[in-house]
């Protein structure tokens, strides 16, 4: 038996990447709370490495996030498990772009629809 359902959730979000941090023993829920208090918007941590943090910020434009970048970095440095430094910065802030679901290129093994849609725009 194989049953497969596909759903597109239409949510606007901006993907933010912070680099130049040292991360060890981070509680992502605690960091999300700090960031949500700072940005007054919903935040989800989606990727963490030893020196970077990537997050989804919902309901805020890129310009609004960039204008708060210094305060966001200060807030992040308060979280347990994160050490900020002079090189800590908001390396990228990018609002997601919509793609036309009618124009999905053919299936390519091990690639999600996002990759295929984005290939259309190239």
């Amino acid at each position: 038996m194989l049953d497969n359902t596909q759903i597109i959730v239409q949510v606007d979000k901006t993907i933010v990447k912070i680099t130049g941090v040292q991360v060890r023993g981070l509680d992502t829920q605690a960091l999300e709370k700090i960031l949500m208090n700072k940005l007054k918007s919903l935040v989800r941590i989606i990727g963490v490495t030893g020196d970077s943090i990537e997050m989804d910020v919902y309901g805020l434009e890129e310009s609004a996030i960039l204008s708060e970048s210094e305060d966001v970095i200060k807030a992040i440095s308060m979280a347990e498990g994160i050490t900020a430094s002079d090189v800590t910065k908001m390396a990228s802030v990018e609002k997601i772009q919509s793609f036309d679901i009618e124009k999905i290129p053919d299936y390519i093994e091990n690639r999600c629809k996002g990759e295929r849609w984005q290939k259309v725009g190239q």
């Binding site: 497969n4 597109i8 239409q10 990727g47 309901g59 999600c112």
Partner: protein
């Protein structure tokens, strides 16, 4: 009845201690709501590698666990962004399960946010949940409610878990299209 369950956390960031594993204790508490007498194991975190994850699943299938729960690695991850973690849980599950029901949740940019699978291999029920705590908790809550109500019905379990995760995303400001 679930008498023997194992939680398999996945992710390099968990294994290396960069991120604390707050999901596993939450998952364990939900399993104990199903059966307070259940033997529950949490195995050491598995690195994001398809072969490793497959090997872990096969090991617990051989040990005849009633329930295997994999945490994390359910999205498009590395296939979408080089800087995101590698997501291999669902691809590892694909080849192992005899029966399976799958729901894929995509963002409006086409990125696979989460691929949720409920399946069976022999007598073992296998499910996966997303890594972010809020979505993981919603998925586990839905799983326990559905399992208590109707038992092992893969379609209903998968649908309720996907609905719970989707609601979390939809709460942010959205709505959804079904393809």
């Amino acid at each position: 009845m679930v008498n023997k369950a194992v939680i398999i956390p996945t992710g390099d960031e968990i294994k290396e201690g960069i991120v604390l594993d707050t999901d596993s204790p939450m998952v364990m508490s939900f399993i104990l709501k199903l059966n307070g007498d259940c033997h529950v194991e949490r195995c050491r975190p598995t690195v994001d590698d398809e072969a490793n994850i497959e090997q872990k699943i096969q090991q617990y299938l051989a040990e005849e666990f009633d329930l295997i729960i994999l945490i994390g690695g359910s999205g498009g991850g590395h296939r979408y962004s080089k800087t995101l973690g590698k997501d291999f849980t669902h691809s590892a599950l694909e080849g192992i399960l005899d029966d399976k029901v799958v729901t894929e949740l995509y963002g409006k940019n086409g990125h696979l946010w989460s691929k949720l699978i409920a399946g069976r291999a022999g007598k073992t029920l296998v499910i996966n949940i997303p890594g972010p705590f809020a979505e993981a908790e919603a998925a586990m809550s839905a799983f326990v409610e559905t399992f208590k109500e109707i038992g092992v019905d893969l379609k209903r379990i998968n649908a309720s878990m996907a609905e719970a995760v989707k609601k979390k995303y939809s709460l942010y400001n959205g709505f959804e299209n079904q393809l």
